[in-house]
Symmetry: C2
Subunit: 408 residues, 2 copies
């Protein structure tokens, strides 16, 4: 008996049959005695279809109008899910981000949530309604429609769970939980019963698509325990929460990979203070997230700076880099697609020497060249050729015996 937030992704509401299936799951949770707030994404490939339409009328559609367009996808889902719940005799009401008043800043297509108004949701729950909220969207204090960027519906769910002090935040997806690697690449990959906030955060930023980075950040920041489950099975899924000391024994938890990577290198950068600040401030001003940053050792007063961004931001980031390179007198900018990132993640890594070396060894044995390396306390990431990524994931998964991981 409590308040449960459930989030269903696009594949879960891709067809009328699936929407009816989700309606039944939601109603089961309600009938068990809970208040239920449901967050849904746009159905199936609706968002891709809308983006395609936009490109046909404008190669570079203005971000504000893009948000106006894309917000319709989730609005379709919430209306259909509310109808499907009514069809099985329960009361539900759909609410857009604007109706809930999920207040965001005004950075269109990548807005950040400032505040969630609880009043309307509480009112509808008090009336006995199941409340269906459009994911991925918000509204500025000026009533402008915004969207939250990739994985925005997960962010909506976590923000609502936090604001409403929910007992659980369940993220329903088309896989059964978090795995030691992508099971489509590594058939012997195992499902994890528990993953820490830090681990899921590193995995999310390393391309494990089960949860998006920003949602993992929010969940950690507001300490919202998550439960990743499959829409299509009753399996227990993966729980995500604060790690306890005992659980830190796992050195390497999973291998993640990400094909959505562009690498940009500025060559012969004068090795004087303030250069990196100038470059990355200029990139941040365009609201582009930088992932890895590597600066090579200085030789003859110059150095190379490489960084990676999402492939979709590659062109814009390279343009900024070009400008800055000219200003600071660097010799040039190289922009490369066709690269990928492979990462190992594990909360126990920090206390275990030799973990990174073992990963590099596994890649070397497969003859895979490493272009960039970056490490954190619980992660080692390497940029490699995109064509090598599947072999690399399998080799590293094998090297750490992840198919024999203890289920915690």
């Amino acid at each position: 008996m409590g308040l449960i937030v459930q989030k269903y992704g696009g594949t879960s509401v891709a067809t009328p049959e699936r929407i009816k299936h989700v309606a039944r799951r939601v109603v089961n949770t309600k009938v068990a005695g809970n208040d239920v707030v449901v967050v849904v994404s746009a159905p199936g490939d609706t968002t891709d279809h809308l983006i395609e339409l936009a490109k046909q009328v404008n190669e570079r559609p203005p971000a504000r109008e893009m948000d106006m367009l894309l917000a319709t996808g989730e609005q379709i889902s919430i209306a259909l899910l509310a109808m499907a719940i009514h069809a099985i005799g329960h009361s539900a009401i759909s609410l857009t981000g604007a109706q809930v008043r999920i207040l965001t800043d005004g950075v269109h297509t990548k807005a950040r949530i400032l505040e969630v108004d609880r009043e309307r949701i509480h009112r509808e729950l008090a009336r006995g309604n199941i409340v269906i909220v459009a994911g991925f969207q918000g509204v500025t204090p000026d009533n402008e429609i915004t969207t939250l960027g990739r994985g925005g519906s997960d962010v909506t769910a976590v923000a609502l769970a936090s604001a409403l002090d929910a007992q659980a935040c369940e993220i329903y997806t088309d896989v059964e939980g978090v795995y030691t690697a992508d099971p489509r690449i590594v058939p012997e990959a195992k499902k994890l019963d528990f993953v820490s906030f830090d681990e899921i955060l590193e995995m999310a930023s390393s391309g494990a698509v089960v949860l998006q980075t920003r949602a993992a950040e929010y969940a950690k920041q507001y300490n919202v325990p998550l439960h990743i489950r499959s829409t299509f099975s009753e399996a227990e899924g993966t729980r995500i929460g604060e790690v306890t000391a005992m659980e830190k024994v796992r050195v390497v938890t999973a291998v993640a990979h990400d094909r959505n990577v562009a690498k940009i290198t500025i060559t012969d950068v004068p090795d004087v203070p303030g250069i990196a600040h100038r470059l990355f401030s200029a990139i941040a001003a365009k609201h582009i997230n930088v992932d890895m940053i590597v600066q090579s050792a200085s030789r003859e007063g110059v150095t190379d700076i490489s960084f990676t961004v999402a492939a979709t931001d590659g062109e814009a980031a390279a343009e900024v880099a070009q400008e800055v390179a000219r200003e600071i007198g660097a010799s040039g900018v190289m922009w490369e697609g066709g690269v990928a990132k492979i990462s190992i993640v594990g909360a126990g890594m920090v206390t275990n020497p030799g973990v990174a070396a073992k990963m590099f060894g596994a890649l070397a044995q497969e003859g895979i060249n490493i272009q960039l390396i970056s490490t954190s306390e619980i992660k080692v990431s390497c940029i490699i050729d995109e064509k090598d990524v599947e072999r690399a994931v399998r080799a590293v998964h094998r090297a750490f015996n992840l198919d024999q991981i203890d289920r915690v």
Copy 2:
């Protein structure tokens, strides 16, 4: 130099190519020195597609959720049109009904506009923006999304033109204007240069689809001159306004027909005062518009009452009629689809005797049986078998020599 409201229907924005075409027309009007407010419908068959989706999850979807769903169609159009205008170097901003604050009552799927807030539109025009407003939708004072029913985008355009005191309200469609009859049925039908408010109102309610009844009502009520034009040609179209004495010479202006008709008859109704009030109040309470009402002469203290409604409202109206029939002790209710309405409309009809008789004669000569007759000052309507409708339209068009009508 002034403010022009333009409304583009669904076929005008059905494809990216057409949206770009509309963008150029809109920009031409702006470049000529006008402020431009554009109202658009949902693209092509989007609304039908959404209704189909709704039926798949719920045979009788709740009206509130239907509005939530259908409002997305126009939101897609406004975003795409704004993008297309940006692509050719002009600034435009799209606004939903909620953003403009087109305030309506709370009768979902058939809401009526209470008030239009001018503030946001004036602010955007002052910034030099072309303002693109979603047709067909509004918002209640409680922020609930509503839709205005069939032809709602026309209503939006007229309401905006009135609120903004526009110099012109141009309704763009896929035909070149108002004709003496449907040119698909009567190839020799002629385009009319001018039609009076009263005439267009009667024509609209008689099934001439170029403008919907409620929009014609609003236009007449608020004296908003309209200009019906084709999106796909530069032809002058048809102007609609207050008729002058001189123009009243046209006895019969056009023949209209409507296949979207259901006829309901209550038999053996006790002939006592208050019965009609009871019946039609009950139907009005369900927000069903009644078109024709015919009560036959009383015989032996009982009478028959027949009325027509839109075919889509037939079932619901028949249900209400059943209840009322039981209460008042009538003998039964007959509900017939498969009927159609044919009407002649003309502002000069009132002063010309024998017009109705001429119409009945034309139908009789074709062997077409008349089931119901209803007349107004400027209209004669007959309910006939739906299978006879095309022959009937051609016969009546010929009888009144409408292919030789003077172009006013």
